[in-house]
């Protein structure tokens, strides 16, 4: 819904309550992007909280992990048991975390107007927007690039109707031959998305399509 989001951006630009953050709306041609991932206490943006954020700059074909922005956040909501299991973070670990009101300005300055890349990025943005609206009265205006869409475009865009779609994180990693990173923390997930992004963008430039191998349909597992 580009019209709706353009409208929303226009309104946000007017209603922003801190003019210092106007830079977020500055648009320019760039080969830079930010790969972003948030770990949260759960999957409901209204209830759950962010507990850690990683943002990794991408410049052209380089992933600048050495310049990554990593932060642990002290959540307001109670830490749920499942997310303890997923992230192996305990409340104790978060005691050193900073409050979102402290983290957000730093993060926004770090991201600037650069496009934001991620896997299922809408969710991360929704989470961030919760704090954005509270603190700045606007939503994150940056252009978004979801690696799921890029992957869909490279693999399923010309697929016959009825093709089984599989856009799971692990599937994309496997199809692109990326090594699975053991721990699912914000940094590794942001890194995974960044890796997917540079490869998929290059495949798009070269007009390369990921083969939907016939073996996807066959239960036979060949290569050992």
């Amino acid at each position: 819904m580009p019209i709706l989001s353009a409208l929303r951006r226009g309104i946000d630009r007017l209603v922003i309550n801190d003019p210092e953050y106007r830079f977020l709306f500055r648009r320019q041609e760039t080969d830079e992007a930010i790969s972003l991932d948030c770990e949260t206490t759960g999957f409901d943006p209204w209830v759950d909280d962010i507990i850690s954020i990683s943002a990794i700059p991408i410049k052209g074909k380089r992933i600048l992990t050495s310049e990554a922005f990593n932060v642990v956040v002290r959540p307001d909501a109670a830490l749920r048991a499942e997310s303890v299991k997923i992230h192996q973070l305990r409340l104790k670990d978060l005691e050193h975390g900073r409050h979102m009101s402290d983290v957000l300005p730093e993060l926004l300055h770090f991201i600037g107007a650069r496009p934001i890349v991620g896997y299922w990025i809408d969710f991360d943005i929704q989470m961030l927007n919760k704090y954005m609206l509270k603190i700045l009265n606007i939503r994150l205006p940056n252009p978004l690039e979801d690696v799921c869409d890029l992957f869909y475009d490279r693999k399923f865009a010309n697929a016959p109707p009825g093709t089984q779609l599989d856009l799971r994180y692990a599937t994309i990693m496997k199809d692109l031959g990326l090594p699975d990173l053991a721990a699912h923390d914000a940094f590794n997930d942001a890194l995974g998305a960044a890796e997917m992004y540079v490869i998929l963008k290059d495949m798009k430039e070269r007009g390369y399509r990921i083969p939907r191998a016939k073996d996807d349909a066959s239960p036979f597992v060949g290569v050992g």
Binding site: P211, S218, G222, V223
Partner: protein, 605 residues
Amino acid sequence: MTQAFDTQNPPFDRLNQEEASELRAAVDIGYYAPSTTVIASGSSSEHLHVIIKGRIEERDGESVEAVLGPRDSFDARAVVHGAAGSTFVATEETLCYLVPKPLILDLIRRNVGFGAFFYQEVSRKLADFARRQETEGVEQVLRARVREARLHPPTWIDGDATIKDAAVVMMQANNNALFVRDGARVGVITGMNLAKAILLSGQSHDTLVRDVCHFDVISVDAEDFVFEALIKMTRHRKRRLAVRSEGEFVGMLEDIDILGLVAGNSQLIPGRIDRAHSVEDLIEPARDIQEQVDRLERQGVKVEVIAEITSDLNRGLFSKLYELIAPTSIKEAGCLIVMGSEGRGEQTVRTDQDNGLLLAAPVPEADLARFRSDFSGALSQFGFPPCPGNVMVTNPQWSQPIDDFVRQIRSWIMTPDEMSAMNLGIFFDAVCVAGRPDLLTRAKTEITSFMRGETGNLARFAKAIDQFEDASAGMFTSIMASVGVASNAIHIKKSGTFPIVHGIRVIAIEKGLSETSTADRITALVNGGTLSGELGNDLKGALSYFMEVRLRSQLNAMKTGRHEEEAIVRLGELSSRDRDLLREALKVVKRFREVVRSRYHLGLF
């Protein structure tokens, strides 16, 4: 923060915790699209690359020196010495950790163990570079693609067929491993599975294939490297791998096929010759015999060995051809012989066909005529050029009853011209490849007894050694004078090979030796005390060197199509090491020529 960077991976395992986290904090990740040059030969690099995913080929010009995969790092020389020794090219979508050069240099300075690895790496590579030429062979094979191996085409059978059916299909298809289609599943059944089912488990012949075959098929892609296939075979303890191309099964790769690639297929050719049912069936193995010569040479196999393998295979080929096309009358009376270099087992690249047929008794003229044309027709189909001297079964002189042939030999001995000497020489090197060897023995005995009866005969025959003497002496002097000058050319066959082969042949006739190869004759003459051990060794060395040079120039001529130059070696194109060797080898020829001259008093002629 890049936790994923594996510091257990050498050389990073030598870093302490603090250094490791410093490294982790400093690395970036670079992406390289397929066919991107990451580091060009001779250029420096601002990063040490550690591959996360993908594949990097290390190339020297056109040839691939190494293939690097995940966890491999490159290029220490480009980082430490500022100049890469090779070119590094991504062949797949590749991601690499980029470790900044200043950090690497700093860590080398601070951490002795880490530093040692890097310097070791650099010096090892330099040493490798010097050694590379010698070891190129086997490595080149491992870096061949699976599709280049001789794959067994896939044969399919249904999962609900019986194992008896499977055995029949295996026999008909001459294939010991079948693909099994069982619904959506694909499996493989092998002869070993059948044997186990019946002999060990006592199952009936009606057991279904799906109950005996296995479905854990291990496969490789046709584009994979052979070494990857080899690794998979080892890892999964399989002797066969299914080969896929674009998702489809295209065949089966057996370990023996890889061996075949290594040894130039030579051990597989005899089986294919044996199984041939028609002249057409022989065309492919005949072509393979020739193709493996080039491969064996590149693998650094010694030229004598190449010649021996090639001769054995060619003889097998002739013998099978004879079996297929000779009419019964000829099979009963005939003795098929190959002569000249083919008989001595010193031919590598096919230069001509020297062959003949001796008959114990006359055979019907129509049978003989048909055999003559069928035989040489087949040979030219196999790629043997016709003999310029017409020493072939098509020539009635070379395919006649033994009594007539013996008269022919006597007349050659009595006629002192070059043609007769050449014919005698070629014939004395003959071996029987099919039919009755006793006919050949009789004809050869005729030569030795007749020649030895009269010293003049032998001397006349020996005189041919001086045939190209002037040319050779001139060349010899010019070599001495012109090291480094490009315009000089030398005829290897006339100046090098021929005088040795012929001189040894004369002495072999004198001594009545039955050996046919020059090296074997030399050994026999040394053992018999006719030649000194030292001269014998020098002659063998020189002959082997001439053969090697000739082979290289023949292979080169095949590639450039300049066949008229196949025996010519241009001094300017030789390395200084080769020029030295050539000079030494020609000195040996000169020394040997003197030995032969004085032995047969050629000075008197």
